[in-house]
């Protein structure tokens, strides 16, 4: 009954009164803690962003099946190279709606006096693998020296950028298509990509020709063939049929995502998970010490309350409510800070409500655990010490 009154605000709430008495100190403590919890949220957000970005590149291809070099797991896991004319063979199979050859390569380009690291995707025009969802401008229509860049590259429509020996004009822009490492993606035609990959300087070309004469003229390769199937065709079955050709391997979209999850994302999850756990442990220790210090500061008040007849639940409530208030205020402030500042992070931060709610629950548990030391100290305070002068 008394508890109900307290919750309904018809009582003198000792926790709130104590907080408002030391409001400046309490808010400063919350601010410090909010930065810590904000970092925890940001790390979870970066991890989610990493997943979205990594899978985004796979999903951007819009493929149900990936045909790659035999005995490999595709270009996102390891080197995969196959002749470009494999596309025609694959496209001729029953059930194929469309197929396109794609290549992936990381390049560094000079732009406005800065070095930009980009993932160059070479794709065939109007075939699977080309830039999806061009939000500004148009897709690539000519096979030479046109590019569609992601906004993250910082390129404007009509702007030019030099890749290798050639200069490309940006004709379209995409949004949120970046590599798993965070590098912005730039789409060019497959032919340009092959040239970019294999064009050597004259001196290097002469040296290569001398070293391995037979190798010259074999630049018409791709890293993978991406396949869209006709409605009703089973992707797994199709992949199994193609994989029977020994020089090819296949992955469904699900397999490809699993490969990424197993390599790039899993490692990031371990690293971010470790740091998140460490930060939460540090937060627990900090909240615990702050609550303990606040309890020690109130030792005489607690002894007096006990002496005049306050039950233990009242004392415990005072400490636990303060710990929870600290956790809730810090979490909300941290979330607001990260929400406002996520555009300034070098990596994409994706804050999902479910993650935020889970972390909020964890913070509440952390607060309860952290208040245990303060509660234990408070319960051990002898009421007679109030009379000790």
């Amino acid at each position: 009954m008394r508890r109900a009154r307290s919750l309904a605000g018809r009582d003198v709430n000792l926790a709130l009164k104590d907080i408002s008495h030391n409001l400046g100190r309490f808010l400063l403590t919350c601010l410090g803690l909010s930065l810590l919890l904000g970092i925890v949220l940001a790390m979870v957000g970066i991890y989610r962003g990493l997943i979205v970005e990594s899978l985004g590149l796979v999903r951007a291809a819009g493929a149900q099946v990936w045909v790659v070099e035999g005995d490999t797991r595709g270009p996102f896991a390891e080197s995969s190279r196959l002749p470009a004319d494999t596309r025609e063979v694959v496209a001729a199979q029953w059930g194929v709606a469309a197929a396109g050859g794609v290549s992936y390569q990381n390049v560094e380009a000079q732009h406005r006096g800065q070095t930009k690291r980009l993932l160059v995707v070479g794709a065939q025009i109007a075939r699977p693998g080309e830039a999806p969802f061009v939000i500004e401008g148009r897709p690539i229509l000519r096979s030479r020296y046109e590019a569609v860049a992601d906004q993250a590259a910082g390129l404007a429509l009509g702007e030019q950028i030099k890749l290798g020996h050639d200069t490309f004009t940006v004709v379209g822009l995409t949004k949120n298509i970046v590599a798993s490492g965070g590098d912005p993606v730039i789409f060019i035609s497959l032919r340009d990509a092959q040239k970019l990959q294999f064009d050597l300087t004259p001196a290097a070309a002469r040296r290569e020709a001398v070293r391995s004469p037979g190798a010259a003229g074999t630049i018409d390769t791709v890293n993978a063939i991406v396949v869209r199937l006709l409605p009703g065709v089973d992707a797994k079955r199709f992949a199994q049929d193609i994989a029977r050709w020994k020089h090819l391997a296949t992955l469904t979209e699900e397999d490809q995502e699993t490969v990424l999850a197993g390599s790039v994302i899993d490692r990031a999850r371990r690293q971010i998970g470790l740091f998140t756990a460490l930060l939460l442990t540090v937060s627990t220790v900090i909240i615990g010490l702050i609550i303990y210090t606040m309890t020690i500061d109130k030792k005489k008040a607690i002894a007096t309350l006990k002496l005049i007849g306050a039950p233990d639940r009242r004392i415990v409530g005072l400490i636990v409510q303060q710990a929870l208030a600290m956790g809730v205020i810090s979490f909300l402030t941290g979330a607001a800070l990260i929400n406002a500042g996520q555009g300034f992070f070098p990596r994409r931060v994706v804050l999902e409500p479910a993650d935020a709610m889970t972390l909020f629950g964890v913070v509440l548990i952390v607060c309860l655990l952290a208040s245990a030391l303060g509660v234990r100290t408070a319960l051990k305070i002898d009421p007679a010490s109030a009379l000790a002068g």
């Binding site: 000792l14 009164k17 007849g309 009379l387």
Partner: protein, 234 residues
């Protein structure tokens, strides 16, 4: 018909430690305190004054003897009530040397909190707090925080808190130690008024000779024993 004592102590003993380290803080102490009286407990340091106050306040368990508070046998070789905090809330008001007001509550809230602990609503508790602060002449300072009150004002608020639940017993531990003679006299006059008007038994531990003439009886303690009352107030 003769009035019954509110505090009735018979053969109370309390010792700390055992064997060579044993210290007898109280030895077979017997004491009666009647309604409407203000008694003083004096004695040198270590004489057992504070131990006796803690025993009467039900915060320290004696080793033997019996104790009756307001007619209820509360100790007879052991505590007879499990809820000693409830017992204190119901029967005893405490006044401390340094007032011990909760620093995060204002004057009326400090008084009201004792009433709320006893189950009153906030409105009832506030009304009672204001009534007591008015009774003690400090109503105008009801919204002041403890840090804004003078020593005498703070002690009056502490007296109001001690009276919040209409206790029959008030235990005061050197309530005038931090006050000058004039304010000490005012506080003692207030306690005498409370005792007289509310038929409360007031037990005060003190060293302060300036206020000895404010007591009905003064008991001297020495080595854990109570000597006969030395004099009575005029």
């Amino acid at each position: 018909m003769a009035e019954q004592p509110i505090v009735e102590i018979r053969g109370i003993s309390k010792h700390f430690g055992e064997g060579a380290t044993r210290v007898d803080a109280l030895r077979e102490v017997s004491l009666d305190v009647f309604p409407g009286t203000v008694i003083g407990l004096r004695g040198p340091s270590g004489s057992g004054k504070s131990t006796l106050l803690n025993v009467i306040g039900c915060v320290l368990e004696p080793n033997s003897g019996s104790m009756r508070l307001n007619g209820e046998l509360v100790f007879d070789g052991k505590w007879l009530r499990a809820d000693l905090r409830g017992l204190r809330l119901e029967k005893i008001g405490f006044i401390f040397q340094s007032h011990n007001l909760l620093p995060f509550l204002n004057a009326w809230e400090n008084v009201a909190v004792a009433r709320i602990l006893a189950g009153a609503s906030l409105a009832q508790a506030k009304s009672r707090a204001v009534e007591l602060l008015t009774y003690l002449g400090i109503e105008r300072r009801k919204d002041a925080m403890p840090g804004e009150l003078s020593g005498g004002e703070a002690q009056r608020v502490a007296i109001a808190r001690a009276l919040a639940n209409d206790p029959r017993i008030i235990l005061a531990d050197e309530p005038t130690a931090a006050l000058d003679s004039e304010r000490a006299g005012t506080v003692m006059d207030m306690l005498r008024r409370v005792a007289a008007e509310r038929r409360t038994a007031v037990i005060v531990v003190t060293h302060d000779e300036k206020i000895f003439n404010r007591f009905d009886h003064i008991f001297s303690l020495r080595d854990g024993g109570v000597e006969a009352p030395q004099f009575e107030a005029a």
